[in-house]
Symmetry: C2
Subunit: 467 residues, 2 copies
């Protein structure tokens, strides 16, 4: 007999937590740490604050010698902008709820990660999570929370409001989870190290359950220019988004609508589009018929003469910081870094930064050492599924740049965008959108050409030395 | 300024449709066809009906010679159990709504696929979808539907109730979408061909936009034993599921609860578990404390003496049909097929079927031709991310089975389970759960040993012929 059910999004991600990246006790510890660290860095970025992130992992209950799977307590503290009291329960105990749905670069994007970590902790230990936060005002809010998984809403176990005498601002998350630290330790340390490299203004500390302290102090005192919200670009807009923009506009005619709802659309462009769509200029935007909305979207697709999207929603690492970070990490004999100008895919601006490093501490190998970043997050899994892997193995022929079969070669890539086309909810690999693939290929080839010059000089020098 | 929003699951999958597999006009056509065909086969299976699936793709609007991206109409008709009138709008125009959330094998699992296809069609063409269905009763229901993406609910454009004079039973879906058939045609035909192979009782017809007819008539007239709902197995149950089972039980004490809520738990097992958890037998299940629920789950984890899960929720392809299907597809000189006994991971039963084929129509190659199936669905993408790829490249050393470096070798795998641990919403690769990896390795090694005998005989014969 057929029984229909509606399930909530928290129920969906609970039943299918492999899809969110929480597939094993070691991977789940990695995911929990990265989701909370990324939230902390986002919280500092929006407030133009120098980030201070402290992560502490303590052993809560040893299941016994034979198993690496134990109960841990994970605590993450930051000095970011904090969360206002009323919003804390939903922010941390509701899936698909967040503040990062706008048109601006941020590490978070789904409204899911922080809650997934707490959900994983809850279903493996049955204990509530503690969230303490203040936006720097008079109050500090302290909640004990659980998630009602069936209904996708918070269950507030306790709520205290404390006096914020010291004007503290920030967020502390503390929760328990079943985890395998032995199995994930190497990746976790690599995550911290690589995060510190591309966020040189952040101080990150990790105190692990073995009493080890990993401290990454900031190397610059200046906060990078934060990304700013901008309007959508017309390219890639579909009928659903167009219908919403039309319904929401205050403009009284279509010229006003097009120039105010989109970036890079001036009055002449608006007239050209409406002409192409055969729609009168003076129609009320809120009264367009279904067919007219479709015509408008089609005309925009045909128009093709739009200027590139506005780069203000972007905040790349920067050539200077990428270079100093790579030097510190790999101590290469050769290094070339490039930042491409902003490009766009489906109406989203993006910028590619790339570097090729050779020699120094890079171990010789017959496969390329790849370091991938997206919105200043290190991507450490699913390398073979990533568009960057496709580019460095299929689009670049390294032999033409004089690179031997076994070589101490490293490629570092960074992609920044208000919307990274991740292939999975776990944010580990990027889809091969043609525009992104093209930009990566151009950037890496430019670095490779400089590598070739370097290797030629080395070759000549060695030949001269032999004579 | 921080602005919090809650988004619906349809909004989430609209904004992130790469994650659902709808990443390009060619991939989206493939996904739309497969989601609807899998729904049709599920609908026949639950009704013990011989499936008749008719897929028709017609060109609606040519965007012009230079582009492969055009507007198509896709129509899928089946003779399955149909959908009752009241449920049609939500079944096809609401995300996370479906009838396949139980504990039984089916192709569908997320409550998302059919609606995603219609959503993709809607946002690329702005046209409603038509759904016509009858469960064989007096009425045929005909709806024109659109999806309210923000609210995740149906928008009924029209609804007619027609007289079902011919006692028709089945479902017809018709909708428009922007697609690239040229880019996806090969994969689509391969999907139909491989689906027909592992569903020999199904008649599948595909009429494409170029007027070509691909007809796969059924080769057996018997419907396979359908999978049946069973109770959850205790292994892998977490505190969330345990809490729900406790809240829902009608049992008056914990012995009654454990024996009635779970499969494979008899009275002795129940007593042993409760002893291990140090919980009295006669407690009211609905009155357990938080700590007691956790103790109960922990005790089950420690117990470890459970019998393997019940295989009634499973419906594998079967050695006989797998063999005849592979013979028809590859005409191999050598073929060995094996079906493993049921095993389990995280409390879910699963069965692995595998085959190794050699020679015949298989083209020699230095990489293995891999054919993967999950719940009788062919998986044609993301091969390198699949656990099967990991097994055939890392767990099996083919040289020890006398397979030369370049060889006409094919490996066919089928995994069936009430819950396939897919890595993505697009259902293309399976996660490397240790139990599944082990079963695949055992199955493929058994086939490989028989291949070795065959290749040794060939070797001897050739050596004898030379003398
Ligand atoms: N440390 C923090 N400081 C301030 N705000 C936070 C912090 N952590 C989470 N938040 C708020 O809670 C919201 C939800 O966080 P969550 O990680 O679940 O989703 P997200 O970061 O928006 O997206 P993603 O799923 O991609 O991580 C965030 O959007 C942010 O507004
Ligand atoms: N052709 C059909 N015949 C009968 N019922 C159908 C048909 N197609 C869809 N349904 C019903 O509509 C529901 C929703 O379908 P949908 O494809 O969105 O989700 P699903 O098949 O349950 O899961 P998945 O997202 O994994 O495909 C199904 O569970 C089924 O009950
Ligand atoms: Mg987040
Ligand atoms: Mg389906």
């Amino acid at each position: 007999d057929i029984k229909f059910e509606q399930i909530s999004p928290s129920e969906f991600f609970y039943k299918n937590r492999d899809i969110a990246g929480f597939s094993s006790p070691s991977r789940s510890l990695y995911m929990s740490i990265r989701e909370l660290v990324e939230n902390a860095l986002d919280a500092a970025e929006v407030g133009r604050i120098l980030p201070e992130v402290y992560v502490q992992l303590t052993l809560e209950k040893d299941a016994g010698e034979e198993s690496d799977v134990k109960i841990y307590k994970l605590r993450v503290e930051d000095d970011g902008i904090g969360v206002a009291g009323d919003y804390i329960p939903k922010a941390f105990a509701t899936v698909l709820y967040g503040s990062k749905y706008g048109y601006r670069q941020s590490r978070g994007t789904f409204g899911l990660g922080g809650t997934m970590a707490l959900l994983y902790g809850q279903i493996t230990t049955n204990r509530p999570a503690t969230v303490i936060s203040s936006t720097g005002g008079k109050e500090i809010h302290k909640y004990q929370l659980m998630i009602d998984v069936i209904e996708n809403k918070p269950r507030i176990i306790s709520h205290e409001v404390l006096d914020n005498r010291n004007k503290w601002r920030g967020t502390i998350i503390e929760f328990y989870l079943e985890a395998d630290y032995t199995g994930s330790r190497a990746k976790i340390i690599e995550y911290f190290r690589n995060t510190a490299i591309v966020n040189p203004h952040a101080t990150i500390t990790f105190e692990d359950s073995r009493g080890r302290l990993y401290h990454f102090p900031r190397v610059i005192e200046k906060v990078p220019e934060p990304p700013r919200e901008s309007k959508p670009h017309p390219v890639g807009v579909d009928v659903e988004t167009m219908s919403r923009l039309l319904a929401a506009t205050k403009a009284s005619n279509l010229i006003g609508f097009l120039t105010s709802a989109f970036q890079k659309v001036g009055e002449k462009t608006a007239r050209d589009i409406l002409e192409l769509a055969k729609i009168p200029y003076d129609l009320n935007p809120r009264r367009l018929t279904h067919e007219q909305v479709t015509e408008l979207v089609e005309a925009i697709k045909k128009y093709g003469k739009f200027r590139a999207p506005d780069p203000t929603p972007l905040s790349p690492i920067g050539e200077e910081f990428l270079e100093s970070g790579i030097r510190q990490m790999l101590k290469p004999d050769f290094l070339y870094v490039v930042q491409r100008p902003p490009a766009s895919y489906s109406g989203y601006p993006f910028v590619v930064e790339a570097a090729v490093a050779y020699g120094g501490d890079i171990p010789p190998s017959d496969s390329i050492h790849l370091f991938r970043f997206a919105n200043k997050i290190p991507l450490l899994y699913d390398e073979r599924a990533d568009v960057v892997w496709k580019v460095v193995t299929e689009r670049i022929d390294w032999t033409t740049y004089k690179v031997p079969k076994v070589a101490p070669l490293a490629v570092i890539t960074s992609i920044c965008s208000p919307k990274i086309p991740y292939k999975t909810v776990g944010k580990e690999a990027i889809a091969d959108r043609p525009e992104i693939e093209r930009e990566l290929t151009t950037a890496i080839r430019e670095c490779a050409r400089h590598l070739k010059l370097y290797l030629s000089r080395i070759e000549k020098r060695e030949a001269a030395a032999k004579r």
